[in-house]
């Protein structure tokens, strides 16, 4: 912990990159100072109450020069013939395949340097990067990410483009997996879709081989009018890995953001999904399933802000928690004054399979407008013994019967995935995880 602070202090002292604008250097310095001040969040920090990080071992923060690799690793997205954006240690290593016309992908460091040509004045990118990526300003992990600002990419799509499907892969180079001091990669994605754009972005992680790293990711999304982003994340990291992912989505009128998550791995996975419905008629659907086993820990923090009229939001999450694993689900909906004719639905259902497993679930609803339709439900239950007997009475052994029911329970969330090819991929991975196959 103190080693981490010392390292961030070092990084802050060397925050100046030669070709960088002053604002970027300041962002780094401010991030470093905030992180040094807060340190890793402990259980007294409300947003991290059930997922304190201060006792978890942290390895060295990876600071990458930003060189592109010549050979890209084999694809891991499993979606067939799609263009992929390959990140190695958080840095955009290359684009594999052709990008549709109107889709621009730039390494974040280059985008920042390009901004310097404008006499060092803070432009749009500067403002964008300075926005807090979570509902809680001053988040320590976001500060840590800012302190190492540089790795990542800016993805923009010009108005009216149907950009299809793009895979986004996170790879790492460090070796010696399992030694307990895995390095920490910080990276940031900025995604801006022009008016009427459609895009499916599928995020996944390299899981085989010896390379490994913890990831602390920030994704910032801006959707113009009627833009549609289907954003899926398949998290299959090995058990010793940590993923911290903060998403912030700002939505203009009639835009649609969909998140489809499936968490099958990692020792610790934390997802912050913060969505602002700022234009009339905007809609967001946040779906996910998590199945932590062993000592795994999964934490979903959702926050949807209804700021405009006629917006719709849904949150649908299913969890199955076994062994000593733990799941945290905090789903918040905030309907601001004037955001009338809002519809907000929340559902989080969990199965607890072991005496030592734990679920902390908390839907929160704060309504400051009239004409709001809202519903929320959170449940924690067990597998249906009658159903298990039914399956066994037909010849399935008990283990298969249980896995079949576990898979089916989570399939309800996977079935909502917005991109059909992704839905198939998630279904396959879920079946593989539960050992049901096919």
């Amino acid at each position: 912990m103190s080693a981490l602070i010392d390292q961030v202090r070092d990084i802050a002292a060397n925050a100046t990159a030669p070709d960088w604008p002053a604002w970027a250097t300041q962002l780094r310095e401010r991030g470093a100072q905030a992180f040094i001040r807060h340190g890793l969040p402990n259980a007294r920090v409300e947003a991290w109450k059930y997922t304190p990080l201060n006792r978890r071992p942290f390895g060295d923060v990876v600071v990458v020069a930003g060189e592109r690799a010549t050979d890209l690793p084999e694809p891991v997205h499993g979606l067939g013939d799609v263009t992929r954006l390959v990140f190695i240690d958080g840095v955009l290593a290359g684009v594999d395949g052709e990008l549709p016309k109107g889709v621009n992908v730039t390494a974040l460091a280059e985008a920042i340097a390009a901004d310097a040509s404008r006499n060092g004045e803070a432009g749009e990118l500067a403002e964008w990067l300075a926005e807090p990526p979570t509902e809680h300003a001053g988040d320590a992990l976001s500060a840590l990410n800012a302190a190492t600002l540089g790795a990542g990419a800016v993805i923009t799509v010009e108005p009216g483009v149907n950009a299809g499907r793009i895979a986004l892969e996170w790879h790492a180079t460090a070796t010696g997996r399992g030694t307990g001091d895995q390095p920490l990669v910080n990276s940031r994605l900025c995604v801006a879709l022009g008016e009427g754009v459609r895009l499916s972005l599928h995020e996944c992680f390299a899981t085989d081989g010896d390379s490994y790293a913890d990831h602390n990711l920030i994704t910032q999304v801006r959707l113009s009018k009627q833009a549609q982003l289907t954003h899926s994340r398949l998290q299959t990291m090995p058990a010793e890995h940590m993923l911290i992912a903060a998403n912030r989505v700002d939505q203009d009128a009639e835009s649609h953001y969909q998140y489809d998550g499936l968490d099958l791995g990692a020792g610790l996975a934390r997802h912050d999904l913060f969505t602002c419905l700022a234009g009339e008629g905007a809609r967001c659907d946040l779906n996910g399933a998590y199945l932590p086993r062993g000592e795994a820990h999964v934490d979903y923090h959702l926050a949807v802000e209804h700021r405009a009229e006629h917006c719709t939001s849904s949150q649908f999450f299913r969890g199955v928690v076994d062994d000593h694993a733990k799941a945290v689900w905090n789903g918040r909906v905030h309907v601001l004054p004037g955001a009338d004719n809002t519809e907000a639905l929340q559902s989080n259902a969990n199965l607890l399979l072991s005496r030592d497993a734990e679920v902390d679930t908390k839907p929160e609803l704060e309504i400051e407008a009239d004409e709001v339709v809202a519903s929320h439900g959170a449940t924690v239950g067990q597998l249906d013994e009658t159903a298990i007997f039914y399956l066994r009475s037909r010849g399935l052994d008990e283990a298969l019967a249980r896995e079949l029911l576990i898979g089916a329970y989570c399939q309800a969330a996977v079935d909502r995935a917005g991109d059909e090819a992704v839905r198939e991929r998630l279904t396959t991975e879920l079946a593989r995880y539960t050992g049901v196959g096919e």
């Binding site: 007997f389 399956l391 037909r394 010849g395 089916a408």
Partner: protein, 263 residues
């Protein structure tokens, strides 16, 4: 095929079966009738191996094996099938997938090669045709959103695919209108064969208008109180179960039925 001797069983510490004897030969269809609370469903559940049904005495021999020693899935793999009184809805589990997994588990147990999806689908379509069931059943989740009649038909369909040696149908007629009842009965009749035994557990005689049993047994107070031919069922329908308790057993001696009181 099945030999039950002095079977005693309890649920939640309450004694339900109190010395039940039953012999079912290969290819025979037996009807077990009885008033509510007589232990009919308990018998089915004990035979299928459901948790919570504690056997406190007696024995059940099935094809020379001690049935009570086997796990529920082993019983299924050995050819025993229980059609549930209340088939369970399992959202998210596809009917076809489930049935193929079940059939392949049983085939594996018997040392037969597993069926791939093409071969399985062929088999399933044949069975559907024979039973006159629509194939949209295959695309749905197990019993989810099925009507009462559809659930019971699905049980018979499963039975047709799994081809058990011994099928126990637990109140398969309950809650069915007359058309559904006829359809289910017809399905069962088509599955009658010299090497398949069927035990029909029912409260009402009307199912037996469509499936003629070889033997009829009356279950009362946790034992077989009377056994006879199909005429016994008619008599029960006319006179109700009350006459049993009135000591009327001795009068059950319709010549064709050769009913005997065993209790």
């Amino acid at each position: 095929m099945l030999s039950i001797k002095a079977l005693q069983a309890s649920v939640d510490g309450k004694s339900i079966l109190k010395g039940l004897d039953l012999e079912v030969g290969a290819g025979e269809v037996h009807a077990i009738m009885g008033p509510n609370g007589s232990g009919k469903s308990t018998l089915g559940n004990v035979l299928a191996g459901r948790e919570g049904y504690e056997v406190t005495g007696g024995s059940v021999t099935y094809q020379g094996k001690d049935l009570l020693e086997l796990e529920p899935e082993e019983r299924a793999c050995e050819g025993l099938f229980l059609a549930f009184q209340y088939p369970v809805e399992i959202p998210g589990v596809n009917n076809t997938y489930f049935l193929r997994a079940a059939l392949n588990a049983q085939r594996k147990h018997r040392g037969e090669p597993e069926l791939d999806s093409v071969a399985f689908l062929k088999l399933v379509r044949e069975k559907l045709k024979v039973l006159d069931i629509s194939d949209d059943l295959l695309h749905r989740a197990v019993n989810e959103g099925f009507s009462g009649g559809e659930k019971k038909r699905n049980e018979i369909f499963q039975m047709a695919v799994l081809e058990p040696q011994l099928a126990i149908l637990d109140e398969t007629d309950s809650g069915l209108d007359i058309d559904a009842l006829k359809a289910v009965a017809e399905g069962v009749n088509r599955l009658r064969s010299p090497d398949r035994s069927i035990v029909l557990v029912t409260h009402y005689q009307r199912l037996l208008d469509y499936i003629e049993p070889d033997k009829v047994h009356v279950l009362a107070g946790g034992r077989i109180a009377a056994s006879g031919g199909p005429g016994l069922a008619k008599r029960l329908e006319e006179e109700g179960y009350q006459w049993l308790e009135d000591g009327g057993i001795g009068s059950v001696d319709g010549e064709a039925d050769k009913a005997t009181a065993t209790a």
